[in-house]
Amino acid sequence: MLDIQDTTLDTLKPGEKASITKVRVKGSARRKLFDMGMVAGAEIELIRNAPLGDPMEYRIKGYHLSIRKEEARQIFIQKL
């Protein structure tokens, strides 16, 4: 059941690190995510959720990036 390819970014817990495998987000958000460094192979860590649970604060490429769960669900990762 638990195929590694099926793990998505929203399942990461605070403090956990992962490596991005594929970005399946569509539309203009897709390019924006690439621009912000969410490319295959990039290392990403969840710092925390927002106080209301969404969006999330990640560390990627040495800075802090925030995205909603909706987009995180379409980003595939491999946990490290």
């Binding site: 970005v23 569509k26 203009s28 958000a29 897709r30 390019r31 924006k32 995510l33 690439f34 621009d35 912000m36 460094g37 490319v39 295959a40 192979g41 990039a42 710092i47 925390r48 959720n49 927002a50 106080p51 209301l52 649970g53 969404d54 969006p55 604060e57 490429k61 040495g62 800075y63 802090h64 990036l65 925030s66 995205i67 909603r68 909706e70 987009e71």
Partner: protein
């Protein structure tokens, strides 16, 4: 001496200190305006240095030069079409990888780049090591490290600019995208070059890469070319999303291969910024702290501004009286005194609010907290079809809609911003409170507090429902995705905040002022003519209008007097109370007015409730209309805001009055 002119453009990611550099370079010799056709702010300035006249253009801060936002299109079109001699990219040394992504794109545009490495101290404080010589070599561009002493850093930079301008040698830099993509790039280039009439300012390779990435803006630029069909055939033959990912991958890969030679990164330590973030976005404390800070900002914007507003008000009153007594003939005295000075006063009275608001917004933005505010509130706002960044403007609306609408500038997405601007007028501002106090106090006695509170809730509810309706109909689509950098916390520079405050405050006076002035003069004409009638009386035009609209207002429970007061309320909503005072002949005494209202069988508890709701929702005041026009840049949306407000107000007031009557009140 033509050669002594140098044109430089400043680019860089947001939050890297670009504006600070711009301010340091140009000082007060700045010009702020808009880029043609769009609401993106354009800043330019001049420096005279060693006999050179250097023009500096501050391009919008962007992460990339794709067509994601208007900012990015504006920035790249400028670089391509205006061909600045040198493009200076301000780079955050503590965040090199992502910053260099923009550098790779600037290189593809074929621009002459100069890198200013900012915040080296932050990077080095945490233990990073930067190898600037290596960086110059690998990037084949000059890299200047900004230094602590103000003057020296700037002189180094300007010396380098002149040196590079005089060298006139172009460095070629290229990123390889791998065989498959390179082949396609070549294919497209070959087709494009056949079009003799193409815009030669655009580098072929760049256009080809952008087309492969599916850039609609670039596609639009070649749509009339005879080779368009053949280019599209190539593009349709590829898996465009894959290419898009592959191209971005390759750019980051190129950075990753050179990055370790330019910089060694220390292990992550607990920075001050991390410490602050831990508390300010804490699961339990985050929201209370946010609310408390917003309340503090509110206090400063409105309470601290009050004495300054009073001073302006006093000065305007004094000037108006002075003019009335010293100018002849009477009509001119009345036009200048009641009309123009009254109108200018109505504009200027908001200036303290606006100056303080922009100062605080700049502090919030510069400190990095504005991004956190959006981060904290996004989930709530998303539920009502809006973006996290819309929260602060809406909150500001409770004080005054004018600065609130201006605060919507921090929202990048055009649709999100438009919706925010259109719904802010429903948020009950301070000026509407006197109306509630008079009528709720007069007709509802001990329940007055509850009634007033209900009005605020009504305003919020209408704003939320309107946002939903707008999303479903004319401003279709979901809120923009929340993909936002949470920059490290910093101490904002006073100079930047003061300049920001001055620029925006002055723009308000200049642009919104003209519209407000026109509005005020129109009202004055209506209230004073035919000449000789008492100002705003039944015999004046405004009185006639009041009578004319009475049949429309009757179903809401309003007679002509209330209608006239509401027309005056367009200048500023607090005037409604004063006008009712004039029309009932009681002047400033609110107790006498209350008695008169109670005695008037035309006004009941029910009609006063309907009136309160109507005053809350109908057409925003002239000042608000002025900024809506200025901020949307469109009469269409301004008129829409007015009409929509009036329609909603009429419907709600109708429901309250007729519904109440049905229930037997």
């Amino acid at each position: 001496m033509e050669d002594r002119e140098i044109k430089i453009a400043l680019t860089g990611n947001p939050n890297v200190g670009k504006t600070t550099l711009f301010n340091a370079l140009t000082g007060s010799r700045q010009h702020v305006g808009n880029w043609p056709g769009v609401t993106v702010e354009k800043k330019s300035g001049r420096v005279a240095y060693k006999g050179y006249n250097i023009e500096v253009i501050d391009l919008p801060g962007t992460y990339s030069l794709t067509a994601y936002s208007m900012d990015e299109i504006v920035a790249r079109d400028f670089i391509i079409e205006e061909k600045p001699d040198i493009v200076i990219q301000v780079v955050d040394a503590s965040n090199l990888e992502r910053n260099l992504y923009l550098t790779t794109q600037l290189m593809e545009l074929g621009s002459e780049i100069l890198i200013v490495l900012n915040m080296c101290d932050i990077a080095e404080d945490r233990g990073d090591r930067l190898y600037i010589d290596k960086m110059q070599e690998l990037l084949a561009t000059p890299v200047i490290r900004t230094v602590a002493t103000q003057k020296k850093g700037l002189c180094d930079l300007l010396d380098k600019v002149i040196e590079q301008k005089e060298l006139k040698q172009h460095h070629g830099h290229e990123i390889g995208y791998g065989n498959e993509i390179e082949e396609k790039i070549l294919d497209i280039e070959k087709v494009l070059i056949e079009d003799e009439k193409r815009d030669k300012r655009y580098p072929l390779r760049w256009v080809s890469i952008r087309l492969l990435e599916g850039d609609d803006n670039v596609k639009g630029k070649i749509v009339n070319s005879p080779v368009y069909g053949r280019v599209m055939a190539i593009i349709d033959s590829i898996d465009q999303e894959e290419y898009e990912a592959e191209i971005a991958d390759k750019r980051y890969l190129a950075i990753n291969t050179i990055f370790p030679q330019m910089c060694t990164r220390a292990n992550d330590t607990l920075t001050k910024s991390d410490m602050i973030d831990r508390v300010l976005t804490n699961k339990y404390l985050g929201i209370p702290i946010f609310l408390a800070l917003m309340w503090g900002a509110f206090e400063l914007t409105f309470a601290f501004a009050t004495p300054f507003m009073d001073m302006i008000d006093l000065a305007a009153t004094w000037a108006s009286e002075y003019v009335s007594s010293s100018i002849h003939p009477d009509w001119l005295a009345s036009l200048v005194g009641d009309g123009i000075i009254g109108g200018v006063g109505a504009v200027l009275v908001f200036v303290p609010n606006i100056f303080i608001l922009f100062f605080l917004l700049s502090l919030l933005e510069g400190s990095g907290y504005l991004a956190r505010a959006a981060f904290i509130m996004d989930k709530l706002m998303y539920k009502i079809g809006m973006h996290g960044k819309s929260f602060i403007p809406m909150l500001m609306g409770f004080g005054c809609n004018v600065p609130a609408i201006m605060a919507a500038r921090s929202i990048e997405d055009e649709k999100d911003r438009l919706i925010t601007i259109l719904i802010v007028p429903f948020i009950s501002c301070g000026a509407r409170l006197p109306i509630y106090v008079l009528f709720a106090g007069t007709f509802f006695g001990r329940q007055a507090g509850t009634v007033i509170f209900a009005m605020y809730i009504l305003g919020i509810a209408i704003a939320i429902v309107s946002a939903k309706i707008l999303r479903e109909t004319i401003v279709k689509g979901k809120p923009a995705p929340f993909i936002m950098e949470l920059p490290p916390y910093r101490v904002p520079t006073l100079k930047t905040s003061l300049i920001h405050m001055w620029d925006n405050g002055f723009m308000y006076i200049k642009k919104a002022g003209t519209i407000i002035l026109a509005g005020v003069v129109v009202i004055w004409v209506l209230a004073s003519f035919p000449w000789g009638v008492e100002y705003g009386s039944e015999a004046s035009y405004v009185g006639s209008i009041g009578h004319a609209v009475e049949p429309l207002m009757k179903p809401l429970g309003f007679d002509w007097k209330i209608s006239v007061a509401l027309i005056f309320g367009l200048v500023a909503k607090e005037i409604v109370v004063a006008s009712i005072g004039v029309l009932y002949g009681t002047g400033d005494s609110s107790e006498a007015l209350s008695e008169r209202l109670l005695a008037d069988s035309g006004v009941t508890a029910l009609s006063s409730l309907s009136l309160m709701a109507f005053s809350l929702l109908y057409m925003p005041c002239v000042a608000t209309v002025g900024v809506i026009k200025k901020e949307t840049g469109s009469w269409k949306w301004t008129i829409f805001a007015i009409v929509y407000g009036i329609v909603v107000a009429w419907i709600i007031a109708f429901l309250i009055y007729q519904g109440g009557r049905l229930l037997g009140y």
